[in-house]
Amino acid sequence: MNRLTMLGWLAIALIAVGSVLGLVVLPADALQGEVQRLLYVHVPVAWVMMLAFFVVFLMSILYLVQRRLKWDLLAVSAAELGVVAAVLTLILGTLWGRPTWGIWWAWDPRITTTALLVPIYTGYLVVRSMAEDPDRRARWAAVIGLIAFVQVPIVYLSVFWWRSLHQPPSSPQSMWSAYGLVMLLGFVAYTLAFAYLWLRRYRLAATELELELSGPEEG
């Protein structure tokens, strides 16, 4: 078994352990009851989403500086995972919000901003799929990856001013309990899962590009 595969199995095992702990072993939260269990997935997945988009940003800058297609492939791999994580975050968030707040959708800054990230990075992926020359495609994508990441904090801030309802992040004091440890496990597990999927997606993208470039010549 190579190292990447091992990483994958480790991530899956940790996610499984975290699921069992979160679903069965831990008692219900004193304040929020059973629904709290959703946060052990929701928060780490949201973290993975932010991590993924940050990676897109970094890889975009690296591409613009060095102009190596490798960085572009790493960026698109992260962007794809970021969009999946964003959609998942939204679904988990609404599932948690319905019993907690009594509504499916709150126009809260974090939810709204996350919802806006989906079209932004979908646009990123669509623009990539439109260009045939790999260099052009990488250049356009890198520009969008960079601009998008600059916008996000301000989009967040503007929605925050517009309306705020979301509960603040847990304070450090509550983190070092059994709940905190399960949450920490979730962060580690989902980060490893991201790393695994990211590298595997990158390998696929590299092979695909090689295939695209070495195919029978046109024109």
Binding site: G33, E34, L95, L204, P216
Partner: protein
Amino acid sequence: MNDHWLFIGAGYGITWVALCWYLLRLRRRERAVAAASGRGGEGARAGGPG
């Protein structure tokens, strides 16, 4: 309280489904690429730079 387990189950379930879906999709694409590179590999190499 009981109906909260519906939401919790849905949340955990969807996460696992999403994970499996993405993995399966990756695997399908990897296989497609492997099959394509097996077929077109030779002819392609002739198109390289002179």
